[in-house]
Subunit: 150 residues, 2 copies
DNA sequence: CCGATATAGATGCACTTGCATCTATCTGGG
DNA sequence: CCCAGATAGATGCAAGTGCATCTATATCGG
């Protein structure tokens, strides 16, 4: 958007600093609410949601990794835990002998459904209440530019 | 900003999801650049910068904690590491026998100065280049609402 | 002035993350 | 067909984090 440079402008530095703070604050609220309700981590929700959206064909690990921007080794172990808890099923991929296909289980869907009301309220507290819909839209559009390929 | 509710609007949910992704992407870029340059963590920079800004009087741990939104126990151990490395000095507080006063050392200032060029380039890559100054300003202003007391 | 309660910061322990590397499979050039 | 990479995913080990709790000091109501 700006001329090529290796020095960020003042507003860019400020935006980055605030992105850090805002994220930490919002994440803190959300995680605290989930924990207080005796529910798992946000990361679990993210995985369950992606897999639920993917439907019966499931997703390969690397697709999930790309969608959520998780580290490869983090996702590998996160899926271990989810599989151990029975919320995700791993099956060898038919087309790629190295690969795994991940699908959500019935219990995984149930867990996600139980998490949503708490998570939703947390999002409203951490984010929603601070903005009008138009502002939230603007914010979301700007943020999307930080990780979508241009 | 919106009427009191416990359900976030669609744009709010989307903004939150994108905040997560954008933060993860930008943080990944920044941390990777610092690591490749053999420099410490972003958290170190944040602490050093706050302490440098605070000047010779330094800051109490809890002030630093509030400024950076770190967890109490995380900050405690982070300061351990910074002190062990000689970048931060801890002194008992004169006014509060329970408290610590933290100050940056010469070596801490030097480290922060060495980190800045790499960090600045990373911010430009991760954030700056995606926005005009006006957009960065808008983004920063919106993000600030998520953690400033209203 | 005293005891109850709150606040500052440290810490033991279990769990998670990061880094480097490993194994297994796949793909493309000769 | 085969070998040299490249890619998918797992894992040992060190370091960082989260939780609960601890100690020490401060503050406040009586």
């Amino acid at each position: 958007m700006r001329a090529m440079t290796d020095r960020p402008s003042e507003p860019a530095v400020l935006a980055w600093a605030r992105l850090e703070r805002a994220h930490r604050a919002a994440l803190g609220t959300v995680e605290a609410r989930l924990a207080r309700a005796g529910l798992p981590d946000l990361a679990w929700y993210d995985v369950l949601l992606e897999l639920e959206r993917a439907g019966a064909n499931g997703l390969r690990s690397f697709q999930l990794q790309a969608a959520l921007l998780f580290q490869q080794y983090n996702l590998s172990r996160l899926v271990d835990r989810l599989a151990a808890a029975g919320h995700v099923a791993r099956a060898p991929s038919a087309e790629d002998g190295r690969g795994l296909v991940l699908t959500i289980t019935r219990s995984g869907r149930a867990l996600r459904r139980r998490m949503w009301p708490v998570y939703a309220a947390a999002i409203e507290e951490a984010v929603g209440r601070h903005f009008s819909d138009a502002e939230a839209q603007t914010l979301g559009d700007l943020l999307a530019r930080l990780y979508s390929r241009p």
